[in-house]
Each structure stands twice: as C-alpha cells, then as structure tokens.
C-alpha cells in the first residue's frame, strides 16, 4: 500500500502500547512519513511529558499547538485544561479556573469516573471534526490505561442517562467505532511480556470498545547477524562472542514475532533497532523510511 493511501484510511490514529515500547518514537516516525507524503499531521499527547519534542530538538509541549517540523504540529491535551475549556464553552468562563484551583473539579471528576477521559476524547473528536489536520496521531496512555481510557465513553453511556456529557460520550463512541474516522495502531517490542500485553490489549479494544485495529508496529527489531567464520583476526574472539549474542537475540525475536502473528491476525510493520542512545531527527528519518517500507508491504483495502 502507498503511504498516502494508508494515511487516508482513518483521520485519527491512536498509537497505543505498553510503557517503554517506543510509542512516542513510532508516532513521530509515522508523522515524518506522513508529512513527506504531503499530509498535514497533528500529534496529540495525552499523558504529560514524553521525549517527542526532544527528538525534534524542541522544548516540551504545551496545551497550545506548536510546529515540530514542516507539516507536523503537536500539542498536549490534559483533562484539566480540557475541562476548563469545556466549562468555558458552556458559559462558565468566569468561575472555571477558580473552581479548578479549589479542587472541586477533582471531586466531580471522581464522582463520574471516565469524566476526564471523555473530556480528552471529546476534544480529539472536536479536532477531528474541525479537520484541523489531514491526520491526527494520538500518543495514547500506556497499555492498561489505554483500554480504560478508550472504554470510558461506552461506560459513561451506561452511567449517565441525559445531558451534554451523554451526548459527548455518544459522539465519541461513534467516532471510535467508525474505522474511516479512527483506528488504533498498537506498538510492541519483539519480546515476550510486551507481546502478551499487546495481544490482551488488542482483544480488549476490539471486543469491548469496538475499535478498528490497524497494523501492529513491532519496534526495535534487530537484524539477522552475518555468519561467523574462523579467521586469524585480532578481533576474532570479540566478533564470535558478539555474533553469538546477536544471533541468540535474533532467534528469540523471530520466535516472538511469529507468536504475535499466530495469536493476532493483524499485519505487522517492523521498525529496526537503532544503535544510538537517543532518538533525534536523523534517527526519525531512518525509522520513517522503514515505516514507509512496512506500509508498502501491507495489502491494499479489500
């Protein structure tokens, strides 16, 4: 599939996965690839700080949008800010901040679990409907939290029978269940525990929320090391040990990738492990290339 077609599949892509698997990096690489294909991208971060802006050499995100690179904008969405905005939109401009400061809002958010999530998702839905970008990428909370986060609207529909929050929840559920508007891209490492969690998360999101699942991104895949050979070489011992180590990792990784394919019938995009300490723009470009390559191997729409 062409990347441009892939970007047109859904307007909102929620990138989710266990903590530490590289969700933010994958989000950024996808954004770079999409921008190259001429799409405008908005990255929305919902769980506070991440290394997103650092990869582009910029300061941390705020509630206000900033441009990370040509065609790529980013912002955060915190429940507190979203709540204040919601109250302001509903005629409570004068008192909303004061109430936030008094802690009364915490009580309300506690009284209605999922309230904070619905505010954030409601705001994402609003951005989607305003067509603020061709593609909105949501850097979702870590796996377990992602399920709760995305299940909130459906839960609220059961709990609240009338009023604006119910309408908001309804609209969000509609967006989440419409594959042309929204899909989830799950990210994992080719390792046992992350793969297990990803499979659980995938079934929960599909069965309990009714979300459309896009391809799975397997991040940080090591390449198959070259064969060893006995040569009279000053580094022979080091090379043998290194290759043995790399081979063992590669075999384990192969097993996990196969197991994932076996348990979850979703196409996979593999991104390479990079031999660097941190991700900067150059690394993002390498990962974006791999992303485009992975998408190219996906089958087109049926």
């Amino acid at each position: 599939m062409e990347l441009a077609d892939f970007c047109s599949t859904s307007r909102v892509v929620i990138v989710a996965g266990k903590g530490g698997v590289g969700k933010t990096t994958v989000t950024a690489a996808f954004a770079v690839a999409a921008a190259r294909a001429g799409r405008s991208v908005l990255i929305v971060e919902v769980e506070g700080k991440s290394g997103l802006t650092a990869a582009f050499g910029l300061a941390p995100l705020t509630y206000d949008e900033i441009e990370l690179a040509p065609g790529i904008r980013a912002r955060t969405l915190t429940p507190d800010e979203a709540l204040i905005e919601y109250l302001e939109d509903h005629g409570m401009r004068r008192i909303s901040r004061r109430l936030a400061a008094s802690g009364a809002l915490d009580v309300v958010a506690t009284a209605v679990p999922g309230m904070k999530d619905i505010l954030v998702l409601g705001k994402i839905k609003q951005l989607e409907q305003q067509r603020v970008a061709d593609l909105i990428l949501v850097d979702a909370p870590a796996a377990g939290h992602a399920v709760t986060f995305l299940m909130s609207p459906a839960g609220l529909l059961d709990a609240i029978r009338v009023g604006p929050v119910r309408k908001q929840a309804n609209d969000v559920v509609e967006m989440l269940r419409d594959g042309s508007r929204c899909q989830v891209m799950l990210v994992t490492l080719p390792e046992e525990t992350p793969v297990n969690e990803l499979v659980d998360t995938a079934f929960a999101l599909e069965d309990r929320v009714g979300l459309q699942l896009g391809p799975v991104v397997v991040n940080a895949c090591v390449s198959d090391p070259p064969a060893d050979a006995t040569v009279d070489d000053p580094e022979a011992a080091a090379i043998s040990a290194a290759l043995a180590f790399a081979r063992e990792r590669h075999v384990m990784q192969r097993g996990e990738i196969d197991r994932l394919a076996d348990r979850l019938p979703l196409p996979q995009i593999h991104l390479p492990f990079l031999a660097t300490a941190s991700i900067a723009r150059a690394e993002l470009d390498v990962l974006a290339d791999a992303f485009v390559d992975g998408v190219a191997h996906l089958k087109g729409p049926a």
């Binding site: 530490g20 802690g103 009580v107 580094e235 990792r249 941190s278």
Partner: protein, 381 residues
C-alpha cells in the same frame, strides 16, 4: 565496603524497600528478586506487587488480587533447603485495602456501611488517580506494623508520575477535606448561604451536566465521612513517617536508554525534594561489551575489508553496531553516576529471556547481589 556489599544491605538490613521507576523497566522483577535474596539470606520477606506480568504472578502464586500475602513454599524458591528464611508475595487489591481502612476508622458499623455502599466512595476507591499509590503505601504500613516481616519490598504503580505514592496521601486528604463539599455536608440550608454564589452556580451546572443523583451521592458520601478525617489524617502521617524512616530504602529501577535514565534522574530529584534519598539504582537490560578496541578502528577495519572480503567486513560492522550500543549505554551510565554520586549503581545484563519463574528471579538476584560475574566490561563502566 564495596558497592555489592553496600547494595546487599537492602536485603540484609533494611526493613522496607520501595522500588520505583516508569513502566516497562523491570520494576516488579527487581522487587521480587530483592525479596527473594532476603529470604535466601534467612529473613522473613514479603513482596507487594501492583501489576505483575501474568506468568510471573503465576510463578509467585498470586494470580488474583488479595488483601493478605501468600507464602511461597520453600521448596520452590530454595530447592536445596539451605535457608531458614521465608518468602511471601501479595498482589495489591486497592479496593479491599481502602475498605479495610474505612472500617478501621468508622465510628460504627452503620457509618462504615454507609460509606462502603456509596457510589462516590466506590469511585474514589477504584478510579481516583493516586488511590492505588496511596493504598500500596497503606498496605506497606499495615504489613510493617502487623505482619511480622523482616523486610517488605513494594513495587509502585507504573505511572508516568512514578512518585505519586509520596504525594498521594496528601492529595486524598485534600479531596476528603474539600471545602466546597464540606459546606454541602452541613445539614441545614443556612450553611449553604455561606457557599459563594459561584459554588452554587457551579453545582447547579454540574447537576445539569452529569445528573442530580451524582451530586446526591457526593453529598451523601461527605456526610457519611464526617468525623473520620482525623483518623485518616493520623494514618497518612504514619505512612509518611514510615516512608521517611531510616530503615526504608528507595531503589530506582531503570534501563540504560537515555530517556529512561533521564526519568530516573528526575525521580531522584523529586525524592530529594521530599527529603528522601535514593539508596540504589538498578539498571536493567545492559548490553554487553565485547572489546576495548575504539569504534573508529572497528569502522575503519570494516571499510578497509569492504572490497576484498565483504563477509569479514560485515562481521566487523555487526561488532561495531553492538559496541556502539554498549558504549552509548556506558557513557550514559557514567553521566548518571556522576549526578547521583551517593547511590549505588547495580547493573543487570540484557538477558535472552523474560523472567517469569523463580529460576529467572534467582538469576536476577544473583546479578544484583554479586553472586554472578558482571557481563564483560560493565565493571569498568
């Protein structure tokens, strides 16, 4: 005293070890390995976990949430039968821990039932951010005071805000003590006049938005809670005391990647802000290093061989790639060591398999406590 001896004190001398760090860095495994080591050294140890991977939970015999620790049969963790220690584990049940706290401080059975049955309370105990952190600390305090353990190791929830457990008691008290809602608790309308117009407008709007019954639940909860804040406050203070006690050690768990190490450093500073300090830093998944030859030499060799012996050049490139990772990690670790000079730094090599049984935990414990040699070159990092 060597770093290893010093680190071993965590298992041999301390009575509480709190493991913190972000998600996905091997925190639960580290916590369990420390408890295992203490048991192997003859102590009565208990590990309190929050959200262990399923297979590890199975291995520890804690498949379900619970309020009381389960002892692991010595035959499982000490097959040679050489230790007189004991090992227990618990997967924290936030709600039942909170329920028990309410029951403890309620004036009578009627009051505790009114609170436990309240819908708002069920949300507080289940969905309020920070409750899980607070209950982990509460459980720690309870086990410390009443459990008869020599050592309790607690895992902390995998939040971005991994130090929430330090602030959680205060945050919960602030919620329970919320002025706006305390005004609502007052039985007569006369008191409502005290509430500002803004508050009344706010509440009317909230009722319109989320429904009157939600507000009724909240009001009923705060009424039922009347008289219990003092008990909660006292308890929270005791929990804080235990956290700050000299017998309590904080261990940061991280990986050698820059973002993870940055977070670790951030936590360390946050702990310092609370007058707490990090005793040790466990760095998991450290890549091995295979040679001391400079990277430039390896790359030059690959370049030189490229034309005549591409297969050999390829092998040099593979070695250079792995060495690049290993050396980046070591540089990052050196940087962190300088910044956290007072903390022991203990490295665990990248293992071929995830830890999901007691043999795996024993391997981690051996690496942590020096019974196994460090991977090549990490000692000099």
């Amino acid at each position: 005293m060597t770093t290893a001896d010093h680190f071993a004190e965590l298992a041999t001398r301390r009575s509480v070890v709190v493991c913190c760090g972000t998600g996905g860095v091997g925190k639960t495994t580290a916590a369990a390995a420390i408890a295992l080591e203490a048991a192997r050294r003859g102590r009565n140890a208990c590990v309190v976990t929050i959200d262990p991977a399923k297979r590890l939970a199975n291995a520890l015999g804690i498949e379900s949430l619970s309020d009381t620790p389960a002892e692991i049969a010595p035959a499982i963790w000490d097959p040679a039968g050489t230790s007189t220690g004991r090992l227990s584990a618990l997967m924290l049940d936030t709600k039942s821990t909170f329920d028990r706290l309410v029951t403890r401080y309620a004036g009578d059975e009627d009051q505790s039932r009114r609170i436990l049955d309240n819908r708002f309370y069920r949300n507080v105990s289940g969905a309020l951010g920070g409750t899980q952190e607070y209950m982990a600390m509460e459980k720690l305090h309870e086990l410390h005071a009443e459990g008869g353990y020599d050592l309790i190791v607690v895992d902390t929830p995998p939040t971005r805000h991994a130090l929430d457990f330090v602030d959680a008691p205060a945050r919960l008290l602030r919620l329970l003590d919320n002025r706006v809602f305390r005004l609502l608790m007052m039985p007569t309308r006369a008191y409502l006049k005290v509430a500002s117009i803004a508050v009344q407008t706010f509440l009317r709007t909230v009722a319109r938005v989320v429904g009157r019954d939600v507000i009724d639940d909240v009001v009923a909860f705060f009424r039922a809670f009347e008289g219990m804040e003092a008990g909660f406050r006292e308890r929270a203070a005791k929990v804080q005391e235990l956290i700050a006690d000299d017998e309590t050690a904080f261990v940061l768990v991280t990986t050698p990647r820059r973002d993870a190490l940055d977070e670790a450093e951030f936590f360390a500073h946050r702990l310092t802000d609370h007058s707490l300090s990090v005793s040790a830093l466990i760095v998991n998944r450290v890549h091995p290093s295979f040679t001391d030859t400079p990277l430039t030499v390896l790359h030059a060799e690959a370049e030189r061989l490229a034309a005549d012996d591409p297969a050999r050049a390829e092998r040099y490139r593979a070695l250079a790639g792995l060495e690049t990772v290993a050396r980046h990690e070591r540089a990052e670790l050196t940087r962190l060591r300088e910044r956290l000079a007072h903390a022991d730094v203990v490295l665990v090599p990248l293992l071929a398999h995830d830890v999901h049984d007691l043999d795996g935990l024993a391997t981690i414990a051996d690496h942590l406590f020096g019974a196994r040699p460090l991977p090549p070159d990490t000692a000099s990092a």
